[in-house]
Symmetry: C2
Subunit: 364 residues, 2 copies
């Protein structure tokens, strides 16, 4: 298989860059005595997860029961960083191999009691982390009092053990160089939760946090014991814009073909929202992606199968049939749209499956 003759759009992964990205975050965590538990939602690939584990990850983070199923083949240490709500999800979790040490993050009595009952019925033990809202306003208890209450219940119930706390600092999205104040505030906030839990006799053994935007500032958050960044295996336009990674650390692009140059000042490529996802640039700039080899060229609009390039700020003049590589705004949702990853390895181009894509449901 050759990159020049694959049908487009196609997802291209540079394995050399993946290895360097993984080595960088692994080294950072080692040097700050942080456990590294990468989130697999970005790649959903067993082979890439194995590569992270071989580089020093203590286990894996997953967001869905199907990701847990798939990844239980490569590790025995899984954190479901997502409330396990509903009998269907609990049944899938309880069908994981007995060798799996499962942790779950949750923020409600309902989720806790159902998880405990399901685990007790199976004679299993699941570690519970109390999810904290540290500013993203998505999930997580808002106050130390609620955290103590839920942690106390987790400590008392059969089927579960209380392990500590988890949070996602998804609200911190400023450039890395300007995160200092936000990270100090985060550190103080997490500290208040930790102190309340300690006073209640429920000291957290695990304090699990970390996103890719804040990954390399994690040592500034005093209480942290582990981090869960996912995107940093590939990076994307958003992460580069924040100064967290450089252009030469981008390990994922979508190869596309120029299919039209008929509209003056524009060109259309065959990567649209069904290959990239029409996700606005979170760091404020416009467009739905840029070209890797012509970063001045933005995708100004996306239809389902068309990406429209603005040629207003470039001397590059594409011809119908030309191939380009697109850097997506958000890599995780682009990977999730692919049938496979084309991985440029040291031995050539290989097709790797995206094993945990979807829900694990048979199509019919």
């Amino acid at each position: 298989m050759k990159q020049q003759t694959v049908e487009t759009p196609a997802a291209l992964v540079d394995l050399g860059r993946v290895e360097r990205n993984v080595a960088r975050i692994a080294a950072y965590c080692r040097s700050h005595a942080l456990a590294w538990r990468p989130h697999v939602k970005t790649h959903k690939s067993r082979r890439l997860a194995r590569l992270e584990l071989e580089a020093g990850a203590v286990g894996l983070t997953v967001a869905t029961p199907f990701e847990a199923e798939v990844m239980s083949e490569v590790t025995d240490d899984l954190l479901l960083a997502y409330p396990p709500v509903g009998p269907e999800k609990l049944a899938r979790l309880m069908a994981l191999p007995d060798t799996v040490r499962l942790s779950v993050a949750l923020d409600s009595v309902e989720a806790l009691e159902a998880m405990a009952a399901a685990a007790a019925a199976k004679g299993r033990s699941v570690q519970v982390l109390v999810e904290l809202d540290v500013g993203a306003r998505r999930v997580g208890v808002a106050t130390p009092g609620e955290a103590v209450s839920l942690a106390g219940k987790a400590a008392d119930l059969p089927g579960v053990t209380y392990g500590g706390v988890a949070f996602y600092p998804g609200h911190i999205r400023q450039p890395e160089s300007e995160q200092g104040a936000a990270l100090s505030e985060l550190s103080a906030l997490v500290g208040r939760f930790r102190e309340a839990l300690e006073r209640a006799g429920l000291p957290p053994r695990v304090v699990s946090g970390g996103s890719t935007p804040t990954a390399f500032g994690s040592h500034l958050v005093e209480a942290l014991t582990e981090i869960r960044p996912g995107t940093c295996i590939f990076h994307d336009r958003d992460i580069v814009q924040m100064g967290v990674a450089g252009w030469n650390e981008l390990a994922y692009t979508v190869v596309a073909t120029v299919v039209s140059t008929a509209v003056p000042g524009r060109a259309a490529i065959d990567a649209g929202s069904k290959a990239l996802s029409k996700e606005s640039f979170r760091s404020g700039a416009s467009g739905f992606g840029v070209l890797y080899d012509h970063p001045e060229v933005e995708l100004v609009s996306l239809s389902e199968e068309h990406g429209v390039l603005d040629l207003g700020r470039t001397d590059w003049r594409p011809t119908v049939g030309d191939r380009v590589r697109v850097v997506p705004n958000h890599v995780c949702v682009s990977v999730n749209l692919q049938d496979r990853l084309l991985v440029q390895t040291h031995d050539g181009l290989e097709a790797w499956p995206i094993d945990a894509r979807g829900r694990g449901l048979s199509p019919s």
Copy 2:
């Protein structure tokens, strides 16, 4: 299978509404003597395509060679409304059964010559429609002169026949009641292209247009012979906002579970950007979807597996474990994220495959 016990998020289709939606557009086209060639990109399902054909569709519209492959099992009359650029795409098209009458829309000499050469080499004949840009600034020739030039080349080349013109009025997105002026302008513009082609001895036999937002105004565009709306089989929040369909015509929702109510004023559900797509509301309103049964409740933010509901404008107070149905902003990109459709038929809930999802590539 019961709706109450399927694992969420899950895509739910109301077959009764689908049948009524299909009957409505079929009746409209019959009453205005327009050929109806629905775009399958919305559902990618052979069974739903068959339902459209049985209701009177003259053939199907596809956007990718794989959609053409899949749909060649249910019709012999296919329009690829997309420039067929690149040897891999041409090879796939030329491998379609000999019984398929294939048309393609294109806007460049490069695409035309390559298509003609590929067809001639196979002893096939492909009908070419010249793609016009009528305002969307995506693909399509800009001037009648360019259209005449390309049509003339298509008429001369072996392997292809010249059939007429195609366009996509994707720029018309105002409410249906305010589209009059835009449709008059479109009619006049298409008329100028048609007259130029007639003067050059190249009268278009086919004038193919039509989107769901403009579908029921198609009779106001004088030259049209066929329309290609796709979304109108399901409709979505965007289409309802434009007044093109009513709430009780919405035939597709995503069933989700409330997984957290911990954050004051909000609730999180398990349908995020990997079930709905984080696509802004094109008609100006905010949010990434609304609840079918509580339309005052908007999804104010989406993460990959979390949808965050704003409870600020509702008396409804959800509990962890509750099920809700989400109306997505844009249905086509949500369908494309699903493993299957759960179709509420007259006989119960059935899982239907989304046959043409993906690129038709083996995962490894």
